[in-house]
Amino acid sequence: MAQMKPGEVAIISELEDDILSVKLMEMGCLPGATIRFNFSAPLGDPVCISVSGYELSLRLEEASTISILN
């Protein structure tokens, strides 16, 4: 999902990183959940997404472990 553009919406298909996936899922990023890419920080990293009804920020490195369908 690191390639998403502001305003785009997608569905999480898979969490690729075993260790991060645990934390991401606790924060509501579950496979099948809808995410919206809101904006990125001025230096391009981290980024802000909407998921499970709230706003979450994560680094590009973490975002790239989330595979999406759109």
Partner: protein, 698 residues
Amino acid sequence: MKIALVGNPNSGKSSLFNILTGLNQKTGNFPGVTVEKRTGFSKMPDQTTAQFIDLPGIYSLYPRSLDEQIVSEILLHHKSPDCPDVVVVIVDATNLKRSLLLVTQIIDLGLPTVLAMNMMDLVAKAGISFNLIALSEKLGIPVVPINARTGMGVDQLKKVLSQEVSPSTKVIFPVFDEAKSGVEELRNELGIDNNYEAYQFLQQPTSLSFLKAQERIFIDQVKEKHKFFPGKFHGAETVQRYGFIQNLLDEVTLEPANENRTSQSTRFDKILTHRIWGYAIFFGVLFLIFQSIFAWATVPMDFIDGLFASLSNYLNDVLPEGPLTSMLAQGVVPGLGGIAIFIPQIAILFAFISILEESGYMSRVVFLMDKIMRKFGLNGKSVVPLISGVACAIPAIMATRTIDNWKERTITILVTPLMSCSARLPVFTILIALIVPDKMVWHFFNLQGLALMGLYLLGFAAALISAIIIKLLINVNERSYLIMELPTYRWPKWSNVGYTIVDKTKAFVFEAGKIILAIAVVLWVLASYGPGDHMERAEEYVLQESENLRLTEQGLEDRVAAYKLEHSYAGILGKSIEPVIRPLGYDWKIGIALVTSFAAREVFVGTMATIYSIGSEEDQTTIKSRMRAEINPDTGGPRYTPAVGFSLLVFYTFAMQCMSTIAVVYRETKGWKWPMIQLVYMTMLAYVSAFIVFQSFS
């Protein structure tokens, strides 16, 4: 009755705690650990008094930072006397889905639980409507709608709490079949009364510090025997819980949200995280903070200074002469004054930090700064401790607990004391006044002001450079991440800001206070006693030396004081380190000031006053003119040349001259290793830089 408040960060937990307990609260520490524990008491409707404990915000029972670990430990250690009788889980009802994950985990622990649905006003605004009766039935626990900002529903919550609350009969997550036999064995052997508690012991024994060594070994054996390997189960548990939550929400949500609330927040973010405006606003905020610390705090600081000085004089006058009076008037009272004088700056700084946190802006600062800070081995979350360090390193170091990565947290702790704290300011002010001319450059900048700003920037640059170097030296490859909620912007709740100010100021007064006070007394002893008869017969000696000078009574007194200091243990120490500090351009008099300010830097000015026989009144202009007149016998010129002055300034910028900080770092890092490393590297940095400065200027 002990009631614990648990909830996600930004769920309004602190507001609820403040409403419940009012000023009837105190901050302490959990036994054996360093995490602050806020407790308070509240009168219940049945006239009993209940104790409330405010626990740090968490998203799940699987901890990642120190703050989070303490919550898991409190809730999972059912046999501990600290284990709460009832748990109130407070949730942001506009964000119910994610909040319910923690709720379901706590229900499964089998503790009596009450769900407080906060922010019901915003729920109404967003057009959401829940069937709370159905929610309560499905979860098997009482559900109380509240608004922690106005206090609505809090009486109802108290009423529910004063009735018997029993644990939920529902089991939301029955432990996996693979773990059943292991859980069974643990429950029998360790006498654990709940499946999920035992399951947690199997899942994460290493993050539960209350487990004894033999219990850990036993848990490992059980895991081995029943072939239970926790890895994949944590994720599977989360998925299963969210499955339950989704079904639950489908049943209890009568009306879902319209999208307005978050989009409003996003509009703010368009400006506040803009590539130009974002940073401009952030630096504007920083400027405002510094401006108020330095300009507005001086009025109350001068007042406190004067108050303690007159108290000291008053005690000297009214009490009978003797060592006790002297200790009280010259040791204890100035020591207390030395603590109290920093209160205004610390209070102002934490007022700002609390407002920024309450409003949700602080998360955006982390968001803006993360990429930059990472280059230096720090974390976006290091920004808060670094800013706080400008007032005082003690609360700043305590603020590093939110950083979940051990390496980034340690680096932040190690470099934070390089930020110029308020204790350095009196030293800077007097030295700058001495060596930098009071001139305007380009009709706008005051040269002295520029010099002061330069020193702050120097401290900041040193912090960043040290961070890079330490980053390369600490060879730990722990994964760093930043998965952080960006809370919706809200208007700060002023009473919460007030409570934070009181809380942080108290923490400073007690943490730093007891050490500064103890040191003040030790210094008084060192400066008032000495070997031989020099101390008792100081007056005779001075009279002999200055027979030809017709001294006034005051002049004689001041000379006696200076003579005493020279021959006291402090004076001897100053003289004995003279060979070491001579390459920096210092003499033994400055040596005494260095020795005394090793405990707390601000003592420098007072020591200077005594050494140069100006008596106990710390009048800046007198000290300044006396220091200016001091002659260096080797050169015949003034002692405080620009070279010496700058060398001292650089030394005070870098040196770790604060016993209280060392004590706090010891507590926060649980050992002497890091405070000692910090002491050594900062002292070396100070010594070498001061040496270079002195040698290249002279």
